[in-house]
């Protein structure tokens, strides 16, 4: 690999590693999401510095220019990270749905209790409540 290219590669991957570590230090990225990033940047850094290993690796899979092997590996890590995010987002979407459902159920319950309380303690009917007009039959049903 061209020594200029190697210098750029080392600087770039070192910078990536430092940025990831700094983000973790500032708690901007949780450790569990930083692990894949750390692994990627460390592997890329090692391969940039240790060009002998990169050349061997490239030769063994038939890549003529070692730097292309570096790009290929970086690209592979990118794909893995993106896939990882899709799984994380799916989990969050599901949790978000459950929270929304729970919230709606609780909100309905609260307004129901609030109204039955208002009636029981003889608050004037004009008393403002947050949620209005749950039906009468609900009170006899659950109240």
């Amino acid at each position: 690999m061209d020594s200029r290219l190697q210098i750029v590669a080392v600087l770039a991957t070192a910078a990536l590693l430092l940025v990831v570590l700094e983000l973790v230090r500032r708690r901007r990225v949780m450790e569990r999401y930083a692990l894949l990033w750390l692994l990627s940047s460390v592997v890329l850094l090692v391969l940039s510095i240790w060009s002998g290993l990169l050349e061997q690796l490239a030769a063994s899979v038939g890549i003529e220019t070692p730097s292309n092997a570096l790009f290929a590996i970086a690209f592979m890590f990118t794909l893995v990270l993106l896939l990882h995010f899709s799984t994380v987002i799916s989990g969050l979407t599901d949790q978000n749905k459950v929270l929304a459902q729970r919230l709606a159920l609780l909100q309905q319950r609260v307004s129901e209790l609030q109204q039955s309380g208002d009636r029981r303690f003889g608050k004037p009917s004009g008393e403002p409540t947050h949620e209005s007009n749950a039906p009468e039959r609900e009170l006899t049903r659950h109240g």
Binding site: K97, A100, A104, L105, S132, P135, E138
Partner: protein
């Protein structure tokens, strides 16, 4: 199968009405439910509407679950099933808030439960007999593909797996409260019922054209609908079932095999 010994639907019944910006229609739906299915409590799921759907529903005497934002029909319906489960309802019928399901036809679904006490889940079909339902040709073709696929998978003839007009008993309610597909859930829900070895049946019903509002399935989205549901159905074939957590009540376990 304890709990299914009943002669008529005088047990606790809930009509779940998912509604997203259906202010123009939901009042009439509730009114019609009151008239034609008075034994059903009415629960409107306001799925993050920006119009007065919730207010109109409350004024019409329905209980309203207000979703904090638009979850889509799957999340909204599951909230309804959770409500039914928590409030110990014996039966829950899904009636769309846009007026395309005629509450007078709930009787037809209920009749199936009276006729066959082992049934857990009944859905209304627009195509099982001549029903006057006129859908665009493309949609009919899509529905036919799903009907064919499901019939093949379940070894049981279904004609309208995309119908949202469905009646569930306690076991099916408990299943849906725990696990329900995210978006465009109708087809997958039927497969879930099948995979959990609950008994399902299809009965012919009439459906009206939409009275107002727009279907959640526009032409643009129907491609996504087909792709998403096909993926879900095919992946579902190799998914381990039941997917519910072990230790859940027997309602969703497969112990009463076919």
């Amino acid at each position: 199968m304890a709990g299914n010994h009943f002669s008529h639907l005088s047990e606790r019944c809930l009509a779940i009405v998912p509604a997203y910006n259906e202010a123009g229609c939901v009042g009439a739906v509730i009114e019609s439910l009151r008239r034609h299915a008075p034994e059903f409590d009415v629960l409107v799921i306001d799925d993050g509407s920006t119009d007065s759907t919730a207010l109109i529903s409350e004024r019409a005497g329905a209980t309203v679950l207000r979703m904090p934002f638009n979850l889509g029909i799957g999340g909204a319906m599951q909230a309804g099933y959770r409500y039914a489960d928590e409030h110990d309802y014996d039966f829950a019928v899904q009636v769309d808030g846009d007026g395309q399901h005629d509450p007078a036809q709930i009787e037809r679904l209920a009749d199936e439960f009276r006729r066959d006490h082992s049934v857990d889940f009944v859905f209304g079909s627009r195509f099982a007999e001549e029903s006057g339902y006129r859908a665009p040709a493309a949609r009919r073709a899509g529905i036919r593909i799903f009907a064919w696929l499901l019939s093949l998978i379940m070894r049981k003839r279904v004609t309208d797996p995309t119908s949202g007009f469905r009646l569930a008993n306690r076991r099916a309610i408990a299943l849906f409260a725990r696990d329900y597909p995210h978006d465009y859930p109708e087809v997958e829900a039927i497969l879930m019922v099948h995979a959990h070895r609950l008994r399902l049946a299809e009965v012919p019903v009439r459906m009206d054209q939409r009275a107002s509002g727009r279907s959640s399935i526009t032409t643009l989205r129907s491609g996504y609908y087909m792709a998403k549901v096909l993926l879900a159905v095919l992946i579902g074939l190799v998914r381990e079932r039941p997917t519910v957590t072990p230790g859940d009540p027997a309602a969703v376990s497969a112990e009463h095999g076919i």
